[in-house]
Structure formats: C-alpha cells, structure tokens
Amino acid sequence: MLEAILVVAFGGALVSYFLGRWTSRIRDYFALGVWIAILGMTSYLHQIEPKISTFYPGFLGYDLSLRITSLSWLFAVTVAAVSVLVIIYSFRYIKGHEKRNLFYFLLLLVNGGMMGITLSGDLLSFYIFWEIASWSTFLLISFNRGKALPAGLRYVVMSVIGSAAMLVATLSLYSSYGTLALSDLSTHLATAGGGYVIFIFLLFFVSFGVKNAIVPFHTWLPPAHSEAPAPFSAVLSGLLVKMGTYGLILIFYLIAGMKIFLGLGTGIWSFHYIISALAGVTIVVPSFIAVLQDDAKKTLAWSTVGQAGYIVLGVSFGTGLALAAGIFHFLNHAMFKSLLFMSIGTVERKTSTRDLNELGGLVKRTPVLFVVTLVGAAGLIGIPLTNGFFSKWMLYKTLILEGNPFLAFAALVGTWGTVLYSYRLIHNVFFGQLPEKYRDVTRTSFSTYLPMVILSIAIVFFGVFPGFLLGEINVVTTSLGFTPLDVQLWGISSDSGTVNTLNILAALAVVGVMVWYLFRSSAETTEVSQEDSYTAGAPVPQGRFTYTADFYRPLEKIIRPYLKDRIEDFYGMLVGFVGVLSDTVRRIYTGYVGTYVAYILALLAAVLLVQLGWKPW
C-alpha cells in the first residue's frame, strides 16, 4: 500500500507530462484523479498499526524502507488533501501559460516527493525524497523567469547548504551505528553522549531550519514565495516549508525521544529553550516586516515565516500541549495560507498586479472572493471560531502555565503584527472606491472558487469543532510519549482553564441574531453608490478615491529603523566576500598564453628548487 501511493504519485507525474503533449484537458483531470486516488489511499491507512515495508532492498548494500505511523499519516493526509485542492485551483490559473506540462509535472513531483518524505522509513530514503522535492521546488520557483530566477537561485543555495548538513548528519549516524532505519536509530541514540547528540541535532536543525525558514535561515523564503506561481506558492507555504517541521518532530521526538531532547542542558541554556527563543524571534520580527510590505504576496510570504515561528515554538517547547498546538497550527496554516495565496493569486490574475498601493474596491466586483479571503485572514489572525484561534490559544496557555511569559509575550505581540497586515491586505485589495480600470473585472470560474470555498468552510468548521483534528493529534502526541490531553469535540477540558467553542458559537449566534433584529426592525435604509460619500460637499474625485498607499505610515516611521533585515545584510556581506575572493582567484586566469607559460615555468623552477634543496648530496 505504501509503495503503491508513491508509485501512483511519481508515475502520475510522468504520465501526466506525456498526456499533456497530447491533450491538456485530459491531463488536468488525470492529475486530479491521481491525487484523489492518493488521498483515498492515504485516508484508508487511518489509524493503521505502525508498519514498515522495504521497497528497495540492497540499494548500495542498504535497504530503503517506507513506514507509516500516526505522525506520518497526519502529515501525509494533509499533503494529499491540499494537493488535490491546489490541482483543482491550477486548472484555471495556469491556462494560457507556456510550459503547462512542465508545471503539472513539477507540481506532481513536488507533491510526490512530500508524500515520500512523510512516508519514508529511514533517513536515506528521507534524504532522497527530500532532494526530489527540493530540486523540483527550485524549478517551480523560477518558473516565471525574470525576477523569479534570482529568487530560485537564492533558494537553491540555502537549500543545498541544508541538504549538505543533513547528509553529513546522516552519514555520521550511519558510520556510528551502521543503520539508518528510524526505528533502530532511536534505540541507539538513547545511549549516545550529549555532545554527539547536540552535534547531530545542530546539523539537522540547520537543514530543517532552512526549509522551515527559522530566523537565521529565512532569507530565501520571501522572494521565493512571492515570485512562484500562485498555486505553487500555496503548496510551498502550506506544505513544503512545513516538511521542515515534520523533520524536526521526527528527529527530536521520534528518533531521539522526548527525554534526550528535553534533557540537553538546563534552564535558559537548554537546547530546546534556545530553539524556542529563536522561534520567538521568528514570530515577532517577520510579522512586523510583513506590515511594511507593499507586495501582497510578499506580505503573505513574511507572514509564512512568522507563522512558522508559532509552529516551531510549539514543537520545540517540549510540553504535550505545545507539541499538539504546533501540529494543530501546522494543519491550520496549511488551510488558511493556501487559501490566502490562492485568493491573492486570483486577484493578481484578474488585475495583473499585486501591488497593494494599486489595488482597491474589488469587493463590489468579486464578493465571493472577498468572503473567502476574509475567512482566511480571520483564521490567520485567530479570531475565535476560526481554527487559528484554537491552536494559538493552546500554545499561549502552555507557555504561560509553564512559566515562560516572555515567549508568550513574543507570540502575542506577533499576533498584533498579524492583525495589522491582515487588515491591510483585506482593505487595500477589496475596500475603498473601485478604481476606473477595475470596473470590468469579472467573476472567476467555478474551479477557481471551489478549493477556496472548501478551505474556508474547513477553517470555520475546525474552528468550531477543533476536537476532530485534536483527536488525531492526540494520538500522535501520545505515541511520542506525552500524556494524552482530554479532548472534547468543542475543545480541551482541563482544570487550569478550558475553552468551549460551542459556548462562543451559541453566544455569538444568539447575540448576533438579536442585534440583527434590532438593526432590521429600525428605520429602513436607502442604498447609495460609492460616489455618494462625505467629502465636505465637494464632488467625489472619479476613478481613484482611496487611501491605500503608506497605510501604516506613522507606524512605519517609528519601526522601520529597527526592522532592517541584518541577517540579510550579513548574508549579502558574505556573498560579497566570496565574490571578491573568487574574483581574486579568477585573476590568475588571464586568458593570455604567455601568463600560463610563465606560471608553468615558475612552478617548474619552484619544483626544481625544492628538489635541489631537498637533495643535499
């Protein structure tokens, strides 16, 4: 079964490429069919006994194996579900684009690679699938050429560093213990010394940190996300980046185990606390950098970095509630961030810009798009009754009750950054007077709306009934050795404060209906057009009458000096240094034969001299 999933995924990618040369319509539906089949197969594996199956015995004298656990099932089913929706979304989006076949091939390859990552049973096959996903990601990021090429290049450089770190760690583990199977490694690492464990952890942390965009390694992400095609941005942000999270959980909790991971150092100087602090920085700074962006997709990209901070904070903090919150936030993030990237992608397609200073007034033209974007932004902020609220609530609760108010402060302040940029996104795209040039924006097709509507329904549904997902997550955290949470359909009950989403829903519904009735029963209104608005009696300027540019100018004046990306500067310095070094080296090769002859003669002379010097007789 596990092999079948991968065979279908990779085979489907190849077949759809060749089908596309014949007819594009069948290729679309074929790709969709492949991933619906994979989703079906993965769902069928629900709560199966953990099992291992070898799929390539004797690869370089080593057996490659697949393995399914509750953890990998959860990630795999998310990958499959989001992939299906993204494929539906790409039907319309990629139409009229060149190289559609390549796009589908690469998209399916990335998704297949991610399935392989989640299902792999040993570190070598993990590495292989990781590389498949990484390299096809590079091709997809730079799919649009132009500005996308340097973005892709930047990604590939950092990704190669990460992969190298992972390879070193994998080889080191293999040479120490002679095995790479996940189940065997966990018994071996339990007896290893603390220094060696930290060495392994650091290498893996670099690798997964690059993928997950934790603060010192985040610089590749914003350009990559904003330049990639929108369906792939959704995959990149919702799933691929979070493969880093999967790797972290894998290495910290499944291979090393909770005891080793939490036992490295004490107090503030323990390993997991330092990672948590890094995650705290990852929440705050990128969330406020996102406020200052003028590019809609870049805002979302920085927001991805910030939200990844929440997830890593949950994973590294080391309580059961925090880990559950981290995994839950991963699932939620996959929902709302894919939704937001899809909707901004649609806006970009309709208006052929994603500059927040240019757009405006689209709520009059595309109301459905507005509603789904609003739901996605609400999930991103974490308004109660959307899914983002519950995962954040769990995270804050454990941070406060475990005595870490400063990390909780970082997380809560990051939420305010989220409020600011989410509102700006909604406002600048959808509100204000409709500019003249967008008067004829039409509604999009059904296949574009469908995945967004499904995702927004899921956001609200899992916000009201978080118990559905928390039940699955509870299985995962219990299998990793944490005490099970008391999960109800409406949330979590414990003695130190519960939250009951049904209470909130009931209260909001009843009060909302009452207020609505009050509103309804008072004097009726007259509908007026957008031009009829208060301007102290002056006629409303036609065409463009909105306040979008420099939306947070007073704040920007205060915070911009502090939000300079010094890490980016540092990397830039490093790049400049390497450039100078290579330039110096390059000067040796002058391209003039006489110089080379001089080099050879000088070398010969040196050799001769050395030979003469070494022969005293």
Binding site: E531, D532, Y534, A536, G537, P539
Partner: protein
C-alpha cells in the same frame, strides 16, 4: 422631567427625540459663523439643549447655514443637505440667505436660498447674537412639535422643481437625481 413631558415622550418618541437631540452640521458660508463658537462654548453652552456639532452630514439632523451663499458654495450646500438622513431640518442664519442681504445685487450671491433647498426657519439679523440662535432653536422645537418643520418632505415632494432650479444655475449638477422626478408630481 415632569409628567406631561413623560407622556409626550411615550406618545411621540420620534418628535421628542428629534427636538432634544439636534446634531448640527455648520456650514460656514459667511461671517455668521463667528457667532457659533460662543454659542457652543462655555458662555452660552448649546449642549445643554442637546445641540451638538458633529463632523459629517451623515450624523446630523440640523443644517445651519451661516451667512450669505455664493454661487460656488451653493453646490456643496445642496450636496450636504442631500446627504443628511431623513428627518432633517434647515435653519438659515442672518439676513443674507433670506433675501441676499447687503449682497442683494451681487452677481455671485444667491438671493433666495429656499428656491434651492427647503428652509424650515430663518434667524434674522446681521448678525444674530447667540441669544437669537437659541430663540431660533426653541422656535424650531415648536415647529417640530406642530409638525410644521417638514422641509425634507417638501423637498421630496417637489424635487423636480428644486432640481430644475438648481440646474438652471449650474447646467449639469454632477450627480444623478436623488429621487425619481417623474410620477411624483401627479400625486
């Protein structure tokens, strides 16, 4: 509040609340505006009657036009008046809006403001002092009580006439008619 007033409140809450909560949008067209600051600040304190200046016509129900109305300012006045929500009252202030005042023969000044928007009451004088403003407001109360301050209904009823008067001045006004002009005249 004595019993008679209480009964009045229960009988006609709309009239009573309209009377005692006049939110004013001042349109400072001329010199009359100089009398407004004393009347709303500590010396005369209009707020004790529930009269309160607000920022936009959407929030207001009393439109106070202070001073002469030039051709250029009439257009914003019409627009502001039309933007106010329905039970609304207009009070013109000083001699000029009544018949042009000292600018009666100016090429650029409106002589009769009530040709263009309905006026519920005038406060005469050049300029009326704050006491006169309060006298005007108390008189407006009696008008509201008796149901005579119905300028907004008049405007709705005779919109085509007002509109044609306005268009005679400007040609094209720059916004579509607020109400359907046809059909209403026949009623």
């Amino acid at each position: 509040m004595d019993r008679r007033q209480l009964i009045k409140w229960l009988k006609e809450p709309l009239k009573m609340s309209n009377k005692y909560s006049l939110h004013v949008v001042y349109f400072c067209t001329g010199c009359g505006i100089i009398e407004i600051p004393p009347s709303i600040t500590a010396r005369w304190d209009a707020e004790r009657f529930g009269v309160k200046p607000v920022a936009t016509p959407r929030q207001a129900n009393l439109f106070l036009i202070t001073g002469y109305v030039s051709l250029k300012t009439l257009k914003p006045i019409i627009r502001t008046y039309e933007q106010m929500p329905a039970p609304k009252y207009t009070v013109a202030f000083g001699s000029c809006p009544i018949d042009g005042g000292m600018y009666w023969d100016s090429y650029n000044t409106i002589n009769h403001l009530d040709k263009y928007i309905p006026i519920d009451g005038y406060i005469a004088g050049c300029m009326p002092r704050p006491e006169a403003v309060f006298a005007g407001i108390t008189h407006l109360w009696t008008l509201i009580d008796e149901g005579k301050a119905d300028g907004y209904k008049k405007y709705r009823r005779n919109y085509s006439q007002y509109r044609s008067n306005q268009e005679r001045l400007y040609g094209e006004l720059g916004w579509p008619p607020r109400f359907e002009t046809e059909g209403l005249e026949n009623e």
